[in-house]
Amino acid sequence: MDHQGPSVLTALGLQALFDSLRHRGYRIVGPKVRDGAIVYDDLDGVADLPQGWTDEQAPGRYRLARRDDAALFGYAVGPHSWKAFLHPSVQRLWTARREGDAVTVTPEPTSAERFAFIGVRACELKAIEIQDRVFVGGAHIDPHYRARREGAFIVAVNCAEAAGTCFCVSMGSGPKVEAGYDLALTEITEGEHRFVVEAGSEAGRQVLAELQAHAAMDGDLDAAEAVVQRTAASMGRQMRSDDLRELLAANLEHPRWDDVADRCLTCGNCTMVCPTCFCTSVEDSSDLTGAESSRTRRWDSCFTMDFTHVPGGSVRASARSRYRQWMTHKLSSWVDQFGTSGCVGCGRCLTWCPVGIDITEEVRAIRESPSKQGAGT
């Protein structure tokens, strides 16, 4: 293949893409059906993809369902996000050994793993971009994230199906992938089952050049465009987002925070599933002999008491203050801190909240009856 523009691959061509990535030494990770959901896991080949499956999502509810076609990517995002691979839930930082009076500290080596992510959605690319800013965008670079991130090859997919909890259109983060991918696919199930492929990087162009792809025709491009349009028009949720920073900052004492506190379990699920949440806690351990010790970091959550523990107790002891911290950080103070919203509208926190607390609904309630007192503390 020597043309530069969009190409077309068949399902067989997709397997060739898997083979090529594996041949290049990538560990291929992507969507797979497991335990009643579509999770991200190691894939052997195209046959592992959730062909003919979709998901039905609502706040606090997720169910797999059968499609009436053979689509390979006919579902939205599930309980996992790519942060599990780029920013693993548990990461050792160093180990130390004491021999006599000497102590040797060995930093944990960075990972040599090179991931190929298959089926990364537009909102997820935005989430990765946000985590890039956090981990490698400032003065303090996280070497573990950087190693995994730099080695990764990203095969994005334009969403053909929006879940009942999706609102990427409101957040300006989808459903069409814009940047940050090596290859981007649009799956077309009408007519011949095929994929329109675009390369977004030099690495992507090289891989694409090896595949049996032919140049996309106008009909292919129109069909691909129609897929994205249809998805954009079927978002399950909406949330006006242009004024969120000011709206929330002006409503820190709104009675809605008490209302949500009655329902919130402070279980932390929303932060665990959120693809942009990055907070960790650092835990030290030592063995029984006192000869070996190590430091590990693991995902933490602003919903735990330890998160703001200082001598004398937890700064944010009430559920009200913890939910408010989470939501105002995502939608308001994140902008001050990182220049963008911390929410990409993926809907995970709605779906995977056991009691179905819906961030778009909480915002709506505040918007519809703004506080009279204005900004509080």
């Binding site: 839930s89 932390g268 599933v273």
Partner: protein
């Protein structure tokens, strides 16, 4: 730690309990020798008969207080112990035997025993911390082996043990599990339950039973509303909070809110 100090003396004490938590210590096959190396195991009836009187640097206490004799014995053990750590649901919340707290214990005894007048037991089963100051509580029914080793290691190093009090949900998510409540509609106590087990039940496709008792900030009424939607009636709700940690304030309150 350059010069070899006297090994700290360990006592393992049993009150009303099933011995399961003490057995967790014996079950630490790989680590048990290291424990025996680091500590002088002075009293541990499950493992040795050599009962030693005197003072203990560390006492691990299993079981709840259900008799007047035990209520006195724990005072003696506290006096003899520099650090006292309670292990397991019995010691930390009264255990399954705290079901008696909801009923008339004399009535039970008259049904179960031929000579109920021989039974001298208190009307309630209560955690050790209701009787004496406790330095640290390790939760679980039974306790988790890894956490027990962590608590002992932390004691030896003079640091705070890493046994987070957040929800089981966080452990469940750290493992990458699919939530059984959200994806299958299975009732699960994970959101109100103290972490520590490593989310065993959700990892095997079952809901959490609350073996580790209430987490740090449980909102049981909100969870009960969800469990109701999933098909549990008030009787089910009363019972689900009334198991190994029935005596813990948050679970007792929620079980009583739903029924007698």
């Amino acid at each position: 730690m350059a010069a070899r100090r006297r090994k700290p003396r360990l006592g393992v004490w049993k009150f009303a309990s099933c011995d399961g938590c003490q057995l967790t210590l014996l079950d630490c096959e790989d680590e048990f020798l290291a424990v025996a190396e680091a500590l002088d195991i002075a009293y541990f009836p499950e493992a040795t008969r050599a009962a030693v009187k005197g003072r203990y640097d560390l006492s691990l206490v299993e079981g709840s207080i259900t008799t007047t004799h035990d209520a006195q014995r724990i005072q003696d053990i506290r006096r003899r112990s520099r650090a006292l750590i309670t292990i397991g649901a019995c010691a930390t919340s009264g255990g399954i035997q705290a079901l008696r707290n909801f009923a008339d214990v004399r009535e039970y005894a008259s049904i179960v025993y031929a000579r109920p007048d021989y039974i001298h037991s208190l009307a309630t089963s209560t955690p050790i911390a209701d009787h004496v100051p406790v330095d640290f509580e390790l939760r679980g029914c039974p306790i988790n082996k890894r956490q027990l080793v962590e608590v002992i290691s932390a004691f030896l190093a003079g640091r705070r043990p890493v046994t987070p009090a957040h929800s089981v949900c966080i452990e469940c998510k750290l493992k990458g599990n699919v939530c059984v409540t959200v994806a299958h509609g299975t009732p699960c106590l994970g959101p109100v339950t103290h972490a520590g087990c490593g989310a065993i039940c959700p990892s095997y496709d079952r809901g959490c039973y609350g073996c580790y008792g209430p987490m740090e900030s449980p909102n049981a009424p909100a969870l009960s509303a969800k469990l109701g939607e999933l098909g549990m009636d008030q009787r089910d709700l009363t019972r689900i909070y009334r198991t190994f940690n029935a005596g813990s304030p948050a679970f007792r309150k929620e079980s009583e809110r739903n029924g007698p």
